[in-house]
Symmetry: C2
Subunit: 348 residues, 2 copies
C-alpha cells in the first residue's frame, strides 16, 4: 500500500481538502444529477418538477460515539436524526432511510433490539420509512451507516450557494449545548475509570445531555418557514460548529459575512457548564459541533417574519466577498472567522 516516494498524512489535508482532492475529478454525467458532492445532500431530478435528495453519514464506534455512556436506543435515534437534519437543510421532506450496521461478537441480539427501538422511534417521530440496509459482522466494534432520502419540488431546493449581499443570517435554537454535554460525559467517564464506585454526577444537566445523546432535527422551522412563505436563499445544518458552516455558505455563495457575537443564541445551561469547565461559551458555539441546528439566509425584506419566528434568531448579515467573514464582538476589533471545527481526520 501507499507510494514509496510520497506519503501525505490525512491530517495534512483535513477533511474538506481531502474530499475535494478525492472527488474533484468526478463530473456528473447525467442530467438528472442536479447536485453532486458539495452540499448537505445530493439532488436528483425525478423528471416531473420533483427532486429527491440523498444524504449519507457514517458513524463509527470510538470516533462518533462511546458506548460506555451512549445508550444504544439513543444512538439509533441519533443516527437517523443527523441524516434527516441534512435533508431538512435542503428544504426537503425526508421520506425514507436505509440503515447498515456492522457489529462484533461483543453485541447480542438484545443490544440490536435496543438500537432498532431508537431507530423506530426516530422513524415514527419524523414520519420516515426504513426501506433497507445491510447487516454484517465486524471485528472491531460497531459501525452504523445511514442514508436518508427526501422529496422536494425543484423550485424549492435550497443550496448552500444562494446567499446574496445584504441577506440576513439566521440560526435556529441555540448552539454549543451538545459540545458541553459531551465534555460532561467525558469528565464523568474519566472519574469512573479511576474510581469505579463513583456515581456519575449528571443531575441538573438534562438539557446539555439531551443535546448530545438525543438531538432533534429542525423539522418545525422548515414547516414554519414554508407556512410563512419564506424560502431561504442558502441553508446548511450545523454539525461541525457555526464557524465551519458560515464559511461553507460564504465559500459556496462567494460572499462574506458579519455575525454579531452577542446575537449568537447560547442556552443558560450551556453557559453555566462552560464556566464550570473554564471554556469560553462562544468557543463551544462556534467550534463545538453536533448542534444539528439550521443556519440559513433570507432576503433583508423578510426581517420581520424571521425576527418574530419562534426558535429563529437573526445573528448577522451577508456582505461583499472582499470584506471577508468576520465576527463582530460587543467591543474591540472584528475577529476573522476560521474553521477550527471538529476535524474528523485530525492528527490524534
Amino acid at each position: 500500500m501507499g507510494n514509496i516516494t510520497k506519503r501525505t498524512e490525512l491530517y495534512e489535508l483535513g477533511e474538506f481538502k481531502l474530499i475535494d482532492r478525492l472527488t474533484g475529478s468526478f463530473v456528473p454525467k447525467h442530467q438528472e444529477t442536479l447536485k453532486g458532492v458539495g452540499d448537505d445532500a445530493a439532488v436528483i431530478s425525478a423528471g416531473n418538477g420533483e427532486c429527491l435528495v440523498v444524504t449519507t453519514d457514517l458513524l463509527l464506534e470510538g470516533i462518533h460515539f462511546d458506548l460506555t455512556y451512549f445508550p444504544l436506543k439513543h444512538l439509533g435515534y441519533k443516527a437517523i436524526v443527523v441524516n434527516l437534519s441534512d435533508v431538512y437543510a435542503m428544504n426537503a421532506t425526508p421520506l425514507q432511510v436505509t440503515v447498515s450496521i456492522g457489529v462484533s461478537k461483543r453485541f447480542c441480539v438484545e443490544d440490536l433490539d435496543e438500537l432498532y427501538r431508537g431507530i423506530k422511534l426516530a422513524c415514527d417521530n419524523y414520519n420516515v420509512d426504513l426501506v433497507g440496509g445491510d447487516t454484517t459482522s465486524s471485528i472491531t466494534g460497531m459501525t452504523i451507516s445511514v442514508t436518508a432520502i427526501g422529496k422536494v419540488k425543484e423550485s424549492e431546493v435550497v443550496y448552500r450557494s444562494g446567499a446574496t449581499i445584504n441577506d440576513l443570517i439566521c440560526v435556529t435554537g441555540n448552539l454549543g449545548a451538545a459540545y458541553m454535554g459531551l465534555q460532561l460525559l467525558e469528565r464523568e467517564k474519566r472519574i469512573f475509570e479511576t474510581n469505579r464506585v463513583a456515581k456519575p454526577k449528571l443531575e441538573g444537566y438534562d438539557y446539555v445531555l439531551e443535546r448530545i445523546l438525543k438531538p432533534e432535527a429542525r423539522k418545525n422551522v422548515i414547516d414554519n418557514l414554508r407556512k410563512a412563505g419564506v424560502k431561504p436563499t442558502a441553508m446548511i445544518d450545523i454539525s461541525d460548529g457555526l464557524s465551519s458552516e458560515l464559511l461553507h455558505i460564504c465559500k459556496s455563495s462567494n460572499v462574506g459575512c458579519r455575525v454579531y457575537m452577542e446575537k449568537i443564541p447560547i442556552d443558560e445551561q450551556t453557559a453555566k457548564m462552560a464556566e464550570e469547565f473554564n471554556i469560553d461559551p462562544f468557543t463551544a458555539a462556534l467550534n463545538g459541533g453536533e448542534d444539528y441546528e439550521l443556519l440559513f439566509t433570507v432576503p433583508l425584506s423578510e426581517y420581520q417574519v424571521v425576527d418574530s419566528m419562534e426558535g429563529v434568531r437573526v445573528i448577522g448579515h451577508i456582505v461583499e466577498p472582499h470584506l471577508g467573514a468576520y465576527m463582530v464582538p460587543p467591543s474591540g476589533e472584528d475577529i476573522r472567522i476560521t474553521a477550527q471545527g471538529w476535524n474528523a481526520l485530525q492528527k490524534e
Copy 2:
C-alpha cells in the same frame, strides 16, 4: 449494554432471521415506498410512472476484504460494482452512487487516491455519477459504505417475488470462480506469512483472481433481455451463493424449484482449482458467494430466447411450493437445497 436476563448471540439467529427480527415492526407509511426491506433494493415511486431503486452495502476490513492481497484500486472498483449488481437485479439502470469511507492513520492520502481511482473507473465503466458521501477517521482500519440509486419504469421493476409455476430458472455467466480465487489468495497469504521470501504462485489463475478482485455487474444481460423484449418474472443477484438466492426467490414467490446440477455453469479454471484444493466445484458454485451473477426466472414461452442468449444458461424450473426446493443430480436422489451460504454473522 445488553439484558441481564437474556443474551442471544448473533450467530444463533444468522443474518436473515436477525434482519427479520430487527425490521419486522417497520411498516412503510408512505405510498411512495413501493418496496421496503426484503429485496435487492428498495423501490420508491417518483410519481410519474418512474421509480428509483436504492441499495446499500457495507464493506469492512477484515470481514469483506483483506488488504494484504486486495489492491486498493480494485477494492474501490468492487465496492461500486457490488452495489450496481443489486440495482441491475431490480431490472433498473444505476445512475448515482454515494461513497462513505472511514480510514485509520495507517492510510495516507495516496492510498485513498488509489481507492478513488478504482471508484472512478467503475463509475465511468457503468456510467454512474458519484454524488456524495462521508469521510471520517476510524480507529480500526477501513470501512466503506456505498449506496447506489437507479431508475426504472414502475411497470419494469422485477422483484424476487414474481416467479410462477413452470417458469424457467436462468443464471448468467458461471459460478464458484470468486470463491476459488479467494481460496487461492488465502493459501498464498498463509505461505507468505510462514516464509517471507516465498513468491505467491498466482500465474495461470488470472480468471478466478479477477472474479474475486475485480468482479463485474451483469449490465450486458439486462440490456440484452430488454432488447429481446423479455422481462424476467423474478430476479436476484448472486452474492451469497446459488443455494441461498434460489431459496430467497422460492420463499418470496411462494414456489419450489428443481435445478439440474449438470446445467450449473462452472468455468474450467474453477473446476481445476477446486480439484487442486480438494473442494467439490458444486459446493463452490452453490455456497461460495461473491459471484455477482444474476439469477432470474422467465415464462416457459421464452425458452428459445433465453437458451440462445449469450452468457445465459437455463438451469431448471419452478415447481409448486409443496414440492420444495431441490437439486437434481445426474443420477441418484434429489438433494434438498439448504442455504449454507456465506453467513456474515457466523460464530467464528
